[in-house]
Symmetry: C2
Subunit: 227 residues, 2 copies
């Protein structure tokens, strides 16, 4: 059990979850040591600890801080920012800027995951609609980024964390969707490169090839409709 002083911090997670990665990046930014516990997410193999710590959604990531669970990634990142507030502020302190950041994280939560999932897990019309809406949404995000260095301005923060973890799936999206992010969203890709210069990001994001392998396996095993 890793402890920092009196603290006990445990993360229930799954290696290629972009939501789990958000928590890992935030903890790395804050320099918080923690015990990582990889979870089996198959219904019948979920750990007793996961079921007890997140009885409502029964899903990762769950941060367990001194025995108390915090669930849902954007909520966890806000919690991390509030508790370990001595370094690397992630959310702005100004209420308007904070609301602005929350708005964009909510936008990412509503638009990116589900459209990305459709792109690799579905076929036909649904796949096409997912691809179209994913690219459109990322262009909206490019508009919001504009010529800023990071979404929050000069420093890497809450919105950057929420979005950059999806980059690890970009290769999978491109492969299944037969398109290029570099061509579609060059401004966003330049931002990705800036984010990757941060150790918290580069050391957290898994290898894109491994994620593609995982997606291919998942599609074959769970998503392909028998004809």
């Amino acid at each position: 059990m890793l402890r920092m002083g009196d603290e006990e911090v445990i993360l229930l997670d799954f290696w290629c979850s972009m939501f789990g990665m958000r928590v890992r990046v935030a903890l790395a930014e804050k320099g918080v040591a923690y015990e990582y516990k990889e979870q089996d997410l198959r219904k019948e193999y979920k750990s007793q600890q996961l079921l007890e710590m997140n009885p409502v959604h029964k899903r990762i990531p769950v941060l367990i801080h001194n025995g108390k669970p915090i669930c849902e990634s954007s909520n966890i990142v806000q919690y991390i920012d509030e508790v370990w507030n001595d370094k690397a502020p992630l959310l702005p302190s100004d209420p308007y800027q904070k609301a602005h950041a929350r708005f964009w994280v909510d936008y990412i939560d509503k638009k990116i995951y589900e459209n990305g999932r459709k792109l690799w897990a579905e076929d036909g019309e649904e796949k096409d609609a997912g691809k179209k809406e994913l690219i459109e949404s990322l262009k909206v995000l490019e508009g919001e980024l504009g010529d800023k260095c990071f979404f929050g301005g000069d420093t890497f923060g809450y919105v950057d964390i929420a979005l950059v973890t999806f980059y690890s799936w970009f290769y999978t999206y491109e492969t299944f969707g037969n398109f290029s992010f570099e061509k579609e969203c060059p401004t966003l890709m330049a931002w990705v490169k800036r984010c990757l210069k941060k150790e918290s990001v580069s050391q957290t994001l898994p290898d894109s090839e491994k994620i593609l392998e995982f997606a291919v396996f998942m599609k074959k095993t769970y998503f392909t409709k028998s004809s």
Copy 2:
């Protein structure tokens, strides 16, 4: 234009939106005067102001504070709590309790509206699934409430605001779904009665009969599939 000192506060809203009502209840709790601007939500009639202030989602509620827009109801309520922080605190100050409150508002956002909509706007299997999941979700919320007076404990707050505005639609849900909330969720209904003792709630929630009329009209006009 209503002003409080140097403040200009405008709310773009629609009378029977449970999301808009959340903002109205929060502003009433804080005693903030504002200009209410009812919006026409039909695509071709949306106001220039709504399109300019919420270009991403183009929907209400939008709070415009000194010319700057804040969008998405749970985000707006948090903003209100942070800006007008001299009275009626809505979110707890402790980071863990705050994360706990945010978790439940997120749960309400994910479970209640869409299942309620299916119940009155859809038919057949989809309607039945909506009814079942709506009642199940409210029972989960009853479990979280337990024997507390309000979701946050002794005082009315963020989670209470997020959920109580749905009460104005309960009569519509019961009528379309042919069931009784009093029978299904007695603990929650006792909580509703406590909330209604607050003027901020009782003076904000519209008449249930009018909402039923609106739902019947909407279903006939927009949702009934031609056979």
